[in-house]
């Protein structure tokens, strides 16, 4: 099925996108930057951080305009988007000001807030002592991975990223995707001597059969093998060695081929 082309205007210039795309996707394809904190190209968007707000209006809307999150709003024919004006700036600035009050020690938030002119929060700094902005990327990536080991607990200001009953989550495979995707580096893990520590677990790592470097936790390997239907051995070689092996195999094939070409000529 071919997707319908959608004509829209971003910051006064005409662009084309396709049905089903979001404003964020359309803008990025057009080379227009919109800041985000809770977005990942690999995951479903939820619109939690509100940093990507843009102003939209339409000829048919009788002058109505308003802020929407670019990561969720689908492009539509004739839509007029403004990615950066006083209203948008004000909303983003307030969002960052609020996040700075929540996470005064987060470097990422401090840097972003400073870009919007906020060097010190105008609100009461939180005593939560956290750098977690509750973007939920960790929970979403864990779900996408198929493990669903972590979730959220509580509501409102009490909400937190949580593990069941405060115990090492039984479904955690130790992949550390949550730590890698965390925009504020709040989730920590440690790899040392062939052992990974995360969420209270201690995982034995599988070592590369070629170079001996630790690759991933054994539990994760079993999980990946089961999910993909591939043999566990497939995962026992590290990406570097795998690449080297591929080069070697291809090289041999190429040598062989050139030898054959030479002999036939």
């Amino acid at each position: 099925m071919t997707e319908k082309t959608i004509n829209l205007e971003i910051n006064g210039r005409a662009y084309q996108s396709r049905e089903g795309k979001t404003i964020l996707e359309a803008a990025r394809e057009a080379g227009i930057q919109i800041p985000t904190l809770c977005h990942s190209d690999a995951l479903e968007d939820v619109g939690a951080c509100r940093l990507c707000v843009v102003e939209i209006t339409h000829d048919d809307w009788k002058g109505w305009k308003g802020l929407v999150t670019a990561c969720l709003y689908p492009v539509e024919e004739g839509l007029e988007v403004t990615t950066d004006n006083a209203e948008v700036q004000r909303a983003r600035k307030t969002v960052l000001d609020l996040l700075l009050a929540r996470c005064p020690t987060s470097d990422v938030i401090r840097r972003l807030a400073a870009e919007y002119g906020v060097t010190q929060t105008s609100y009461k700094p939180s005593d939560l002592k956290t750098t977690c902005i509750l973007c939920g990327l960790c929970v979403r990536v864990c779900e996408a991975k198929g493990a669903s080991a972590i979730g959220t607990a509580g509501r409102g200001i009490q909400k937190r990223i949580a593990i069941p009953f405060k115990q090492p989550p039984p479904d955690c495979i130790g992949c550390a995707s949550c730590a890698h995707i965390c925009p504020t580096n709040t989730i920590k893990f440690e790899d040392k001597d062939g052992v990974r520590k995360i969420w209270g677990h201690t995982f034995e790592m599988v070592r590369c059969t070629a170079c001996g470097q630790p690759i991933m936790p054994e539990v994760q390997m079993e999980f990946e093998a089961k999910r993909s239907g591939l043999s566990p051995e497939y995962f026992t070689i590290c990406p570097d060695c795998s690449q080297a092996k591929t080069v070697e195999t291809l090289g041999k094939a190429f040598d062989l081929e050139s030898a054959e070409t030479r002999s036939s000529s």
Binding site: V46, R50, V53, T69, R90, A91, L98, G156, K159
Partner: protein
């Protein structure tokens, strides 16, 4: 017995009515939550026992009916005797003997149990002559207080399922939608969206894009969560079949075959009565497969909510029904197109559904003739706060706030000055005296910065601090925000923090501007309606009671005598009669004074609890 067609329903209705006619006197004991808490069940038991012992049921054909909420909760337990509409209030088991002896056997009235009109000081005998009831017009609450909620036959005897029969007997789904559209019915849950338009959008919606256009859902929102609101609760408890009948009609109109009632688990009686009613309807062939032999099938399940306020928001409710965390999603694609399990879904609240059978049976025009042109019909309110007649009321749209508060509500307790009325729950606003003559309808309330909401109405007197009220509602929303998006989670929390400071005398110049600035972003950038409307209580109080905020911030004074750090009590030399009431009421013994001499308060010991002020009949305890 399963009813195989509409004819058998009509025959059954006729049989039940003939049977009911044999009862010469019906004693309707209110078994709504308020009266139950006051012991109405003991009253009913005692009545039943006495009647049985004296075999009056055979002799006089008496029947005791435990009904839903009569509405006048302030005066419970309530007992109404029919025919005659004799209205007894505050009945206890000790009164039963007299009621039986005098009223049931001799036809006399027990004077002391009658309601006394505070205005005329007259005792009023008849239910419909009491001002609390006479100005009301009951459509959604039409059967409540008259029928036994757990008895489908009683509902059928009161025209129950007749609207459904009419619909299945010859109306096309499109005609049903047309009828609802013509009636002008708007959603009673708060948004006021035109119900007919919602149904039509759902009926025409393409399903979730997987090619299956056959799955649609029709749901009922019974997650009423506003502090002080109990309209939907009373309907579910007192007339569950009205909701179910409405839903079946809705399902027929949009082509749904499955639905849910999402009801708070904190409403045990509502859950119980809805469950009972669903089973009865199923047994009678009014719900489930092949309803009344029409070929149309629709069934309803109960989904019990865990008490999160946000789960009353449509998308969060649908997630919760599906077993996920009850968090809203952005509704750039409306839930009527992509709702439960991503299928087209109609969600209406309890009161909206309860109106539907009435409209189909009495005609859309009859409904549209009530109320105002843009807000047709009636609206149920729970009237609470500092008003004399606390209770559940249903009035035509367009009635003024003054009529509700003063004529139906009887005015302010102890005739104190009126200060404000909060409508629309935590997302609504507070309106001052100058707005008392405002007609109560969807658009008028929104225009002045409040909203209809689901129908909570909290009346406040001069001893209410509006900053404190705003702080209370914000705290409620801080606790109930789902925490998904930043403006609502962090922003409303910070708003509340500012008000905490203001109420503790730590407000700073510029706080009001800061509140207004932050509120604008919360309104503009929050994900769902909870966040978007969260600043309403504070914005509307700043709008109408700005000087009170300013007094808190610059003069560190709370004139209402609520914010304890910002006032002290003194006893006025002129007003004090030395009666000693305050002295006796003071829990910390900080009041001294001889009889008939001026009393004084030891400021250092005083905890500012206000007990002295509440008991003083001469308004001698003053706030400075």
């Amino acid at each position: 017995m399963r009813l195989s067609n509409t004819k058998s329903l009509n025959e059954l209705a006729k049989t039940i009515r003939t049977e009911h006619k044999k009862v010469q006197t019906a004693i309707l004991v209110c078994a709504g939550t308020g009266c139950l808490a006051n012991g109405s069940l003991e009253v009913a038991k005692s009545l039943e026992k006495t009647i049985k012992r004296r075999k009056l049921d055979v002799k006089l054909h008496l029947a005791v009916k435990k009904t839903g909420c009569h509405g006048f909760c302030e005066k419970g337990p309530l007992v109404v005797i029919q025919p005659g509409e004799i209205f007894y209030k505050g009945v206890t088991p000790a009164d039963v003997k007299e009621i039986v002896e005098r009223t049931l056997l001799k036809g006399e009235i027990v004077e002391r149990l009658l309601y006394k009109d505070p205005a005329t000081k007259q005792r009023i005998e008849k239910y419909s002559s009491i001002p609390f009831y006479s100005k009301q017009q009951r459509i959604a609450l039409r059967n409540i207080g008259k029928i036994v909620p757990g008895d489908i036959e009683d509902y059928i005897a009161h025209d129950g399922y007749q609207a459904l029969a009419k619909v299945l007997d010859g109306m096309a789904p499109g005609d049903v939608i047309e009828s609802i559209t013509t009636s002008g019915l708007r959603g009673r849950g708060g948004g006021g969206f035109p119900t007919g338009r919602k149904w039509r959008t759902c009926a025409n919606a393409k399903s979730n894009g997987d090619g299956d256009d056959t799955i649609r859902y029709v749901l009922c929102n019974a997650d009423e969560g506003d502090p002080g609101a109990f309209m939907d609760r009373s309907i579910c408890e007192g007339d569950p079949h009205a909701v179910i009948e409405g839903m079946i009609i809705g399902a027929y109109a949009v082509g749904a075959h499955e639905g849910y009632i999402y009801v708070r688990d904190e409403y045990p009686l509502a859950v119980q009565h809805l469950g009972l009613a669903l089973n009865q309807a199923r047994q009678r062939g009014l719900l489930g497969e092949d309803i009344l032999g029409s070929g149309f099938s629709y069934d309803i399940h109960i989904a019990r909510g865990g008490g999160a306020f946000v789960c009353g928001e449509s998308s969060a409710l649908m997630k919760s029904v599906a077993g996920e965390v009850g968090e809203p999603r952005a509704k750039y694609v409306h839930s009527v197109i992509r709702g439960l399990h991503d299928c087209p879904t109609v969600l209406n609240n309890v009161e909206t559904w309860a109106n539907v059978p009435w409209i189909l049976l009495n005609g859309a025009d009859a409904f549209a003739a009530l109320g105002t042109p843009k807000s047709t019909g009636t609206k149920a309110f729970s009237l609470v706060g500092k008003v004399k007649n606390t209770g559940l009321v249903e009035v035509p749209m367009g009635i003024t706030l003054r009529e509700i508060i003063y004529d139906i509500g009887g005015g302010i307790i102890r005739d104190r000055p009126f200060k404000g009325v909060q409508t629309g729950g935590p997302s609504g606003g507070c309106l001052p005296e100058s707005k008392l003559d405002l007609p109560v309808d969807f658009d008028s309330l929104t225009e002045v910065g409040s909203m209809m909401g689901s129908g909570g109405m909290i009346v406040m007197d001069d001893r209410t601090c509006m900053v404190d009220v705003a702080r209370y509602f914000l705290k409620f929303l801080v606790d109930e925000s789902c925490g998904k998006c930043v403006p609502c989670r962090e922003g409303v929390y910070q708003l509340w923090q500012i008000l905490e400071d203001v109420c503790h005398g730590e407000g700073r110049p510029g706080d009001l501007e800061k509140i207004e600035e932050l509120s604008k972003v919360i309104v503009d950038a929050s994900l769902c309606a909870l966040g978007k409307s969260a600043p309403n209580p504070v914005l509307s109080t700043i709008k109408y009671f700005r000087e009170e905020y300013e007094a808190h911030i610059s003069a560190h004074k709370c004139q209402a005598g609520v914010c304890k750090d910002l006032f002290t009590f003194v006893i006025s030399e002129e007003a004090c009669t030395g009666c000693g009431a305050c002295l006796r009421a003071c829990p910390v013994d900080c009041i001294t004074g001889a009889k008939k001499k001026l009393h004084t308060i030891e400021i250092d010991k005083c905890t500012r609890c206000g007990a002295c002020r509440n008991v003083c009949r001469f308004d001698a305890v003053e706030v400075v």
